[in-house]
Each structure stands twice: as structure tokens, then as C-alpha cells.
Subunit: 479 residues, 2 copies
């Protein structure tokens, strides 16, 4: 063995300066939304409780359903073995309440992950404090734990729980008529754009803009709304599934929340969400790292469905269910893409489209591998049409059938409507017009298309590049 | 969906300057080796054939065994589905010749990967041209294809084969008495340090120093030598296995070559190499990307064994075999570590030690996941004792048993003999002395130790950090 220590001690640190392309401004991806586009029956706020050091920055978000019935609730949680306390608690609440809930509370700045039994107590305390804001429903005085909880931020540090609880109890349903007045030091619950925006801001960690979208859709001639927010922007390679009872003793992040005023049964809401999450949040990668806290929650309070309206259900109303599922899937794809768009240090937004796979799972696996390759991602940053790295990444994993190199094709697809550029056709490299290749990869957005020639299944993935800025952000996150 | 194109077109590229810590100089990891330490019966050279643009830089290496018998030969090749032409050809040669060979030829600058049928022809031409340098052995005039071939560099471009063939045929066994004279423009074959060093230099791509080591060992009272070279420094996450007949129609990189003057049967040489490679080259990662060209070759020409000496063999001489296997494993670990040490842009050399796993494969899988996490690696670069990321990476994969969070411990182990620093003990985070943590992670070399508490198997992995320089090198590799 080389005498590592003695030699390493002689290392001399050199310092030099790189000129680095930084991420472009993305603030224009956030714009005002008309108040009428938001679903009915929700009150929201975002405020500075003191988890984050910087004064005034929102770090606590509260979302309440004010409908006269508990909302149907569904969620997908990280499959990481080391689930954070809020994940464990939210799973328990959802299971105990059979898919019903009335509130969501979220903090940013501290993930409450790997915080032992104290962390669990803190998460439960957030649930109880938020529950206390809710008006008891008729005949449900005994109902408890109607709040789902989410946290994001540094792992392994305890929450400043007193500050958070004080923040929660500063709110009251009595002040709900409108949003905060500019003179008020603590913004109150509201239902207009300002309130939704403040809640979205409370989700943010390294995000550069709040991620808030709204959508209107019709089922059976009736109009509904769906709105939601999410956040990234690092430790983003989610793999989330439906809630399950935790088996462990104890146990930064993707968080998202979708709210709708449609009425749908809890079981069908979960089923639609699981489908949607597989094709949206589980198909994005910023850095290939899966968080302990990833959580997507959806509430459907039925506020626009009218009293006594029948719930949408997969079995009794398959047609309505399919429409809802499609709307939810498209909406979650929109939200998921925003996370990649704002990936830490990202200068590119790249769609990886894998076709001709034997199964959807195979297509998804190949797309995921390409989307997480450090070499592919640095080439994207360098605007280098290095398709060899795409191929090497593809071939580095096993799928359900052997690859047949002579059937594989790779092309770059520009998104301005001009012709795709074939790079590899049936295993034989094309003489590439490098100027044209550069033209395509110098665009902000483009698509990498890989045809495997082994079947008819396809999958899409969305990824970004690996930049100097990513290294800077993550080399010094905690300080 | 957001209107991506219109929005992206409005992006404005910003430019800024980072002050970046660069990789320390590593040239002191290369030092002269006494001529007597090299195995007997080999002639080597390295020269500039013209694959690389820069004049004088070695890009062609030739290694010949001059023993009176063909050497036993073994190899491990990449498991990437898109094997480069030299990998396919070397596999064919090894299988056809039943584990015998007399030469190795290597070029750097172009990987001859994804080059179709022309690439295969080029690789065969390199084999034939190098074969022609060999003196026919008595009674083996008909012997053909005794050369194994390796290439490293850009994927998808054809070799400048005429330049390479001219380089090979510039060599001749007649000039073998000594190394090149300084006045000669083309260095000739030799057996001293200078010749070995030139061969090692011909392997290099983004490597900052030639990787050459030698080792002396005894079996049954007889002294043997082992020497070898390898190269990295990017697309390094090998998974190599023994040769197998190629099933595909067609098919930068880890290359390595170990030469010994011991006599060992081809089958036992392959068996020892497969064992050694799993614990050395298959246990390192620079960037998590598996190359199409990864190849480790070992030749054992028996030149120090004496005429008619019995070959070491797993069945007939298990004791000798175990010694040889141990020596080869330690030697390949030395060579593998050099690659991590010189990983593209690396400023750290980190050992990831996973203990308490149910199986070796589980331990290896966890160690690999930690070693490839972008967030762990950027934290290493930033000298941030962010153990939460280590835990998140661990929990993100499935192993043969469920993790039990309350049994998991993580610590940082300094290599200066001072006390390890526990960060997480049985699932509960310790109040960490951040100053002490910083002290440990600011060293060039240290160890991350993870105890899973699920069994008694362990595995080691070696990794480096993710730096600005890695992004710079790989954002602009081809230009």
C-alpha cells in the first residue's frame, strides 16, 4: 500500500479562479394568478416563525380546509428507509383517519429527520397545534389529528419547536376574511393570491422562486379547481409510494401539496395520486439523491361539488375518475417540472425520452440512469453534444432484456420545431454536424431521445445539468 | 404545461466568477522504481503515435513478453452492454487462445467505442501489427492473435489507425537491449524503469501522473515480481467480470495491466484476478459512470520460475495459489486507489467502510451508494461534516434485509491515529463537536464508517469528492 498519510500531508492546496456560467434568473416562472383560479374552501398563510435565521423569510406554512366535511386526503411518501419524523407522523394520521384530513402544516429550514423520539414528539406537536386552529365539525367533536405535517431542510438537527408552535398559534380562523394587511407583522390566513403565494414561499429552501400553479377543469359539466405548490431544489431523486404503517422504531427534499375543491373518495384520490406521482415527481432528478422527507399531499374538500354531491370514485364513476386522474397527472407533471427548472445551479432543462423498451419499468430505469449520470450532466452544462456518455450510461444498467447494440438509436430533439439530429442510428454513429449539435444543446430546453428497439413501451424523465453552482451550493449548505 | 420554449428564450445568461479550490498536485505519487523490482521477461515502450494532438505525448503503449513460453493471461472486462471494439476483440483472443497471450497494446486519446464494424477491424489490426513484433516460438509457428488490446478516450470516433499501425511497426525486438537513447526520436522497447514509465504514460488521459507500481513476493521460497500500471480518471465506476463470448453484433475508462514473472495456470490466474478485481477496481468510484472500455489484464510469463517449473494452480497447489491471490489483491487495491487519488478534480481520498451487513453484496451496495452520492461528494469537497447526507444515501437503496434505523451508526475516522468521531449512534444523533468534525474532514484522507447492525459482513469502497474542477474537466472534454 502507498503510505497515504505521509504523502497526503505534503499536499499543498492550490487555489485558482474559474469563470463559471451561472444559472439564469428563473423568477419569471412565478407570476400572479387570479384569485378566482384557486379552489374554494381553503385558507392559507406563510410566515416567519424563526426556523430560518434571516428575519422575515417565510419558514412556516399553514393550509386549512374550511369545508363543512373533512377533505379526502392522499399522499405519497419517500421510500427512503430513514423516514423523517413528519413522514412517519403523516403516514400514521392518514392511516388512522382513513384518508381524511383538514389541514397541512409545513416548515422549511430544518427537516426534522434523524431526530429520534424527540423529533417525533415535535412533529406531533405541530399536528396538535394546527388541529387547534380548526373549527370542530358537527358531530365530530372527538375527531383528532386532522393535520398532515411536512418539514424540509437540514437533517439531524432538532426543530426550534417553541418558535414553530408560537407561529402556528399566532393564527386564528377569526381573522380569515382577507389576507394580511401590510401593517400586520404576522400575516394571517387568507384565500387570495397573496395568501397562496405566502404559503408557497414557506416551502422554499434553495429554491429561487415560489412554485405555485392553478388549473380549472370540468367533470360531468361541473367546474372544479386545483391549485398547488411544491419545492426542490436539491436532494431531488424522489421515489415515493402510498402511505404504509412504519416498521422502523425511529426513524432537503421534495415537498408538494395539491388542493382541489372536487369531491372524490379517499381511496380513489390515493389511487389517482399514486399513478400521477409515478409519472411526475418520480420521473425527475436534480442530483440523484433521495431524501428522507419527500412528501406529496393532496386534499380534496369537495367545496365546489355542492352539499350532498356524489364523490368521484374509480368504481362507481370510472369516467369521472379517469378525467380527474388525467388532470391530476398533468398538474403534477407541471409542478414536478418546476422543480427541475429550478434545480440547484441548473442552467438546462432536458427531457429524456426513452422509447422502444420491453416494459415501462425498463424505459423508466434507462431514462433515470441517463438523467443521473454525472458525465451526461456535466456535458449538458458544457453544451457538449457528447452522446457517447448517453450510450455508456444506458449500457451500464441491466433491464429485463439484453440490449442489442445494433438496434439502439440516439438523437437530440430541439424544441423549436426544427429537425431532430440523429447521432447514432441502429448502433452505427452518424457523422455529426457539430455546429448543428451545438446549436441544439446551447438552447435552454431540448430533448434527448433514445430508441432501444426492444419493444413498444416508453418513459419520460426530466433532468437538469451539473454546474459549478451546484457544487458551490452543496459544498457549503449548512454554513 | 408551462410554455417552456417562449419562457426559456427569455433567459439571460449570467456570468460570474467563483474562487475554487483546485485539486492539489499529485505528482509525488509517482516516483522512480529500481529496475530490479520489475518482473523478468518483459519489454515495454510508450510513444507518441499521433492519436493525441499534442506532439510528443505518449498515446501508444506496447508490452511484450519475451519468455520462451506464452504467458498465462487473464482479464476482467466492463459489464457495460455497449462494449468497445477492443473489449470484444480482447475477449475473443483470450477465449480462442485458452488464456494464453504474449503482448498487450494500448492507445489513449480515442476509445474505439461505438465505432461499428470498422472499429472492430481497427482493433484487430492493432492485434496483428503487435503480433508481428513477436518472435515465433518453437513449434508454434501457426500461433496467431497473441495480443490483447485496450483503448481509452473519446467514444464514437474512429481511431487514426494508420498512425497507430505506423507507431507499432516502428518498434522491433532487435532494439531491445536497452531503453531508448535520448537522441532517438522514437523510443524503443526496453525493460528498465524508463521503459516501464513510458508505457505507463501511454495509458494516461485526464490522469495527472503515470500510475506505476512494483511488488516483490515469495511463493515456496522462490522470489517473484509483479508490476503494473493503470489509468483513470473519469467515467470511473467499474463493474468488471471475466471474459465471455460476446452476444451483441457490435458493439474514458479504467485500464490496467499487471505483469508478473510467476508461473500460474490460466484458469487460476483468471480466478485470482476476478477475486482481486471485485475487491479493488470494482470497489472504487470517481463519478459513478461505467465505461464501455474498462479492462484489466494480467500476464504471468513464468520467467522467474525456471524452465519446467510447475505452475501455481488452485487445485494442485492451493497454498501457493492463496499467496498469489492475496498478493494480487493487495497489488490491485494499490493500483485502484491511485485512480481515486487522481480522480478528475479530486481534492479528497475517502474510504467508505460499511460494516454489520447481512451479506458482502449488501455491504458493497451500501458503500457504493454512499460513494456515488453527489450530495455526499460535494459535502466532502466543501469539507462539511454533513452526515445526514450519508444516512439519506444509505436509506435510499434496498438491501436483502430491511434497515433498522435504531441500529445504524455513522462515524468519521481520522487516519492520524486520533479518536474516531461518532455522529450517529444506534439511530440517535450525537451532539457533534463541529470543530473536531471539521478537523477530520479537512484532512486529505479520512474514513466514513457506517455500521448497519444487521450482520457481520463488511466492504470497503474508495471515493473522492466532487469539485468545481470535475465540472470544468467534464463540461468541456472533447474540445
Amino acid at each position: 500500500m502507498a503510505s497515504k498519510l505521509t504523502l497526503s500531508q505534503t499536499f499543498k492546496r492550490l487555489s485558482s479562479t474559474f469563470t463559471a456560467k451561472t444559472a439564469p434568473s428563473k423568477t419569471h416562472f412565478h407570476a400572479p394568478i387570479p384569485d378566482s383560479a384557486f379552489p374554494q374552501g381553503y385558507l392559507l398563510t406563510g410566515l416567519h416563525a424563526g426556523v430560518k435565521k434571516k428575519a422575515g423569510v417565510p419558514d412556516l406554512g399553514i393550509i386549512l380546509s374550511t369545508a363543512s366535511r373533512p377533505a379526502s386526503a392522499a399522499a405519497c411518501f419517500t421510500r427512503n428507509a430513514f423516514k423523517a419524523a413528519p413522514v412517519i407522523v403523516s403516514e400514521e394520521v392518514l392511516i388512522a383517519n382513513k384518508g381524511k384530513a383538514r389541514a397541512v402544516v409545513v416548515n422549511s429550514g430544518c427537516a426534522n429527520a434523524v431526530t429520534g423520539s424527540e423529533g417525533l414528539e415535535d412533529a406531533w406537536a405541530m399536528v396538535r397545534a394546527t388541529d387547534a386552529l380548526l373549527k370542530p365539525l358537527q358531530g365530530e367533536e372527538g375527531q383528532k389529528n386532522e393535520t398532515l405535517v411536512m418539514s424540509t431542510g437540514v437533517i439531524g438537527q432538532r426543530l426550534p419547536i417553541d418558535k414553530i408552535l408560537a407561529g402556528i398559534s399566532s393564527q386564528s380562523l377569526k381573522t380569515t376574511a382577507s389576507s394580511s394587511s401590510p401593517s400586520s407583522s404576522t400575516p394571517s390566513l387568507g384565500s387570495n393570491f397573496d395568501a397562496w403565494e405566502r404559503a408557497a414561499k414557506a416551502f422554499m429552501t434553495t429554491d429561487t422562486f415560489p412554485k405555485l400553479r392553478a388549473r380549472t377543469f370540468s367533470i360531468g359539466g361541473k367546474e372544479y379547481r386545483m391549485a398547488g405548490m411544491d419545492k426542490g431544489a436539491g436532494m431531488i431523486h424522489p421515489d415515493m409510494g402510498p402511505p404504509r404503517a412504519s416498521t422502523g422504531q425511529l426513524h432537503a427534499t421534495l415537498l408538494g401539496c395539491v388542493l382541489t375543491d372536487a369531491a372524490i373518495s379517499p381511496r380513489s384520490l390515493q389511487s389517482a395520486l399514486t399513478y400521477a406521482v409515478d409519472r411526475s415527481f418520480n420521473s425527475i432528478s436534480v442530483d440523484g439523491d433521495m431524501s428522507t422527507n419527500d412528501t406529496i399531499i393532496v386534499l380534496a374538500n369537495g367545496a365546489a361539488a355542492g352539499e350532498g354531491a356524489k364523490e368521484i370514485d374509480e368504481e362507481t364513476d370510472p369516467e369521472g375518475y379517469e378525467v380527474f386522474k388525467k388532470e391530476l397527472t398533468e398538474f403534477t407533471i407541471d409542478l414536478a417540472k418546476l422543480i427541475v427548472r429550478d434545480g440547484e445551479g441548473a442552467t438546462k432543462f432536458v427531457t429524456v425520452n426513452v422509447q422502444g423498451a420491453p416494459t415501462y419499468a425498463d424505459a423508466h430505469k434507462v431514462a433515470s440512469r441517463i438523467s443521473t449520470s454525472a458525465l451526461v450532466k456535466t456535458a449538458l452544462y458544457g453544451e457538449d453534444a457528447n452522446w457517447g456518455r448517453i450510450l455508456a450510461a444506458t449500457g451500464s444498467i441491466a433491464i429485463s432484456q439484453d440490449f442489442i447494440p445494433s438496434r439502439v438509436s440516439v438523437s437530440f430533439v430541439p424544441l423549436d420545431g426544427s429537425s431532430p439530429l440523429p447521432l447514432l442510428v441502429n448502433g452505427e454513429p452518424r457523422k455529426v454536424d457539430e455546429a448543428r449539435a451545438s446549436e441544439i444543446v446551447s438552447a435552454e430546453d431540448f430533448e434527448i431521445k433514445v430508441e432501444l428497439g426492444l419493444g413498444s413501451e416508453s418513459a419520460q424523465y426530466w433532468t437538469c445539468d451539473f454546474s459549478y453552482e451546484y457544487v458551490r451550493i452543496n459544498g457549503d449548505y449548512r454554513t
